[in-house]
C-alpha cells in the first residue's frame, strides 16, 4: 500500500465516521460540526484526485460560509433532542424506502455489473491545471447550462428574501444617509458660562440667565 492509498483510507475513514455521527449525535450543534468534518474530509479526498479547485471551493463555500450560517441557525434554535426522537416511528415508513433506494443505487454503481464503475483516473501530467481545465469547459461547452444555473440561484435568492422580509412598523430605523449628513451644529450647543466659586452662584447676576439657557436647550430635545 503506497502513501497515497494510506491517505485515502485515512480520510475515507474519517469521512464515514463523521457522516455516521451526523446522524446519531444527540446534540444538533455537534451533528452540524461533524458535517463540517465530513465536508473537510471529502475535500481532502478530492485533493487526492488532483481536483484541487473543487476541493478548495468545497472548503471555501460549504465549510467557510454555508455551514457557518447553518450553525448560526442551529445554535439559536431551542431543540430538545428527546422530543425529536419521539417522531422516529412516525417517519420510519417514509424513511425506510428512501434508505433502501439509496442502498440499491449504491450497490448497482459499485457492483460494476450493469453500471460499470469508471476506471481509476490516470495520473495527470505535471503541468495540468484542474482550475484552468474546469474554467475552459464551464465557459465554452457548458456556458448555457452554467448561466441557467446562475439565474435559477438568483431567482431563489430573490424569492427567499421576498418571502421572509417583513418591515416592522414599530422599528426605530434611521436612514443611514441622513445620519451621515448630520452636522455638529444640529446636535451640539456650546454654552459659555462664567467661572464661579462654589457658594457664590446665588449672588452671581449671570447665574439665572445661564440656568435658563441650559433649561431651554434641554427643552429643545
Amino acid at each position: 500500500m503506497n502513501f497515497q492509498a494510506a491517505l485515502f483510507y485515512f480520510f475515507a475513514a474519517i469521512l464515514l465516521g463523521a457522516g455516521l455521527r451526523v446522524i446519531i449525535a444527540r446534540n444538533p450543534v455537534h451533528a452540524a460540526l461533524y458535517l463540517v468534518l465530513a465536508f473537510f474530509s471529502a475535500a481532502s479526498l478530492w485533493m487526492l484526485l488532483e481536483a484541487e479547485f473543487l476541493a478548495i471551493v468545497l472548503v471555501l463555500v460549504y465549510v467557510g460560509a454555508v455551514m457557518v450560517l447553518f450553525l448560526f441557525v442551529v445554535m439559536m434554535l431551542d431543540i430538545d433532542p428527546d422530543r425529536l426522537r419521539q417522531n422516529v416511528w412516525r417517519y420510519l415508513p417514509v424513511a425506510l424506502p428512501v434508505a433502501l433506494l439509496i442502498a440499491v443505487e449504491m450497490v448497482l454503481i459499485l457492483g460494476a455489473r450493469y453500471f460499470a464503475a469508471a476506471p481509476a483516473p490516470a495520473p495527470l501530467p505535471a503541468g495540468y491545471s484542474n482550475t484552468k481545465a474546469l474554467g475552459e469547459v464551464l465557459y465554452t461547452q457548458y456556458v448555457y447550462a452554467f448561466e441557467v444555473a446562475a439565474v435559477i440561484l438568483l431567482a431563489a435568492i430573490v424569492a427567499a428574501i421576498a418571502l421572509t422580509m417583513r418591515r416592522r412598523k414599530d422599528s426605530k430605523y434611521i436612514d443611514p444617509a441622513r445620519q451621515v449628513r448630520v452636522h455638529k451644529e444640529d446636535r451640539l450647543r456650546v454654552l459659555k458660562m462664567k467661572v464661579s466659586r462654589y457658594g457664590e452662584e446665588m449672588h452671581d447676576h449671570d447665574a439665572p440667565h445661564g440656568g435658563a439657557d441650559a433649561a431651554s436647550s434641554s427643552g429643545e430635545r
Binding site: 484541487e52 471555501l60 457557518v68 448560526f72 445554535m75 439559536m76
Partner: protein, 338 residues
C-alpha cells in the same frame, strides 16, 4: 547502515519541511509577542501615555512577562460548558491562522509550498477561523459569549464575500492564483504595484481585513463595553492566550497578503534598489501600523452599520470595479491593469 541511509533519504523531505515550518512559525510567534508590545506602545503614545515601561529596558520584556503570567494561570472550564468543544475552540482558532502561512512567499523562492492555487488556499483556510470563535462562544454556555459568537459569525461571513471579490480583481490583473506570480507581475517600481489600478479593491480588502480579524473599529464580537469580552469571556490562562495569538497572527497574515497582492511584496519601490526580504518586512510593518492606528482613532461601529457597510457598500463597489477592470482589459489600454 545501508538501510539507515535509505530510511534517512525517505524521511529527509519530511524533516526538511518540518524545519522550514519551524523557520516560519518561530519568528511569527515572536512577532506576535512583540506586536502586542508595539500596539501598547504606539497606542500609548497616540493617547499621550507611556505604555508598558517597567519590565526590562523601556518595557521590552513585557511580552515575555505576559506569556509567563498566562502560562501559570489555571484554565477554568465552566461547569455548564460543553467540555470537548470548549477546548477545541481555541485550537480551531489558532490552527488556520498558522496553516495559511504555508503558501506565503517571503522573497523569490522563499516559500514553503509554491502552490498554483495559493490564493484560493489562503481564502479557504482563513474562512475556517470563524469556527474557533463560534464554537468557543457556544461551548462556553454563557449569554455574552454566545452573543459574541453570533455577531462574529454574521460579520465574518459578510466581509468574506467582499474580500473574495477584491481578490478576484487581483487575480484578473495578475492572471494567476500563485502568490509568487502575483508579486512578480508587479515588477518595475512602485507605479507598477496593483494598488494603483485596483485602488478601491485595496481599500475594501484592507477594511474587510480589519473586520475579518475582529479588530477595532469592527470588534463587536468582543465589545468590552457591551458584552464584556464576547466569545472568550469564559476563557483563562493559555486557552485565552490562544485566541490572543490567533488574532495577532491573523493581523500579520492579512498585512502580509495586502503586501503581496497590492504593495509588491518583496519588490523595492524604485527599480534601481535591490529587492529582498527587508522590503517585505517594511511593508508588512506599515500595514500593521495602520491596524493599530485605526484602533486608536475610530470608535466602534454599531452592529447594523457594520452589516450595511459590508453588504451595501463594499460588495457593490467590488462588483463594479471588477466589471470595469474586465472592460479595460478588453481594450488597448489593458496595460493599465497588468
Amino acid at each position: 547502515m545501508a538501510d539507515l541511509g535509505l530510511a534517512w533519504e525517505a524521511a529527509w523531505p519530511a524533516v526538511r519541511t518540518l524545519l522550514y515550518i519551524l523557520l516560519i512559525l518561530v519568528p511569527l510567534v515572536l512577532s506576535v509577542a512583540y506586536l502586542t508590545y508595539a500596539e501598547r506602545k504606539i497606542i500609548g503614545y497616540m493617547q499621550v501615555r507611556l505604555g508598558p515601561n517597567r519590565v526590562g529596558y523601556k518595557g521590552l520584556l513585557q511580552p515575555i512577562a505576559d506569556v509567563v503570567k498566562l502560562l501559570m494561570k489555571e484554565i477554568i472550564i465552566p461547569s455548564g460548558a460543553s467540555r470537548g468543544l470548549f477546548i477545541l475552540g481555541p485550537v480551531l482558532s489558532i490552527a488556520p491562522a498558522l496553516a495559511a502561512w504555508a503558501v506565503i512567499p517571503f522573497a523569490p523562492g522563499w516559500v514553503l509550498s509554491n502552490s498554483d492555487a495559493g490564493l484560493l488556499y489562503v481564502l479557504a483556510i482563513t474562512s475556517m477561523g470563524v469556527y474557533g470563535v463560534v464554537i468557543a462562544g457556544w461551548a462556553s454556555n454563557s449569554k455574552y459569549a454566545f452573543l459574541g459568537a453570533l455577531r462574529s459569525a454574521a460579520q465574518i461571513v459578510s466581509y468574506e464575500i467582499a474580500m473574495g471579490f477584491a481578490l478576484v480583481g487581483v487575480l484578473m490583473a495578475a492572471q494567476s492564483l500563485n502568490l509568487s506570480h502575483i508579486v512578480e507581475g508587479q515588477t518595475g517600481g512602485f507605479w507598477h504595484w496593483y494598488v494603483w489600478p485596483l485602488f478601491p479593491l485595496f481599500l475594501v480588502y484592507l477594511i474587510a481585513g480589519v473586520a475579518e480579524t475582529n479588530r477595532a473599529p469592527f470588534d463587536v464580537a468582543e465589545g468590552e463595553s457591551e458584552i464584556v469580552a464576547g466569545f472568550h469571556v469564559e476563557y483563562s490562562g493559555m486557552a485565552f492566550a490562544m485566541f490572543f495569538l490567533a488574532e495577532y497572527a491573523n493581523m500579520i497574515l492579512i498585512s502580509a497578503l495586502t503586501t503581496l497582492m497590492f504593495l509588491g511584496g518583496w519588490l523595492s519601490p524604485l527599480p534601481f534598489l535591490p529587492d529582498g526580504l527587508l522590503w517585505w518586512l517594511l511593508k508588512v510593518a506599515f500595514v500593521l501600523f495602520l491596524f493599530l492606528w485605526f484602533r486608536a482613532t475610530f470608535p466602534r461601529y454599531r452592529y447594523d452599520q457594520i452589516m450595511r457597510l459590508g453588504w451595501k457598500v463594499f460588495i457593490p463597489v467590488t462588483l463594479v470595479w471588477i466589471v470595469l477592470v474586465g472592460l479595460v482589459m478588453q481594450t488597448r489600454y489593458a496595460y493599465l491593469v497588468h
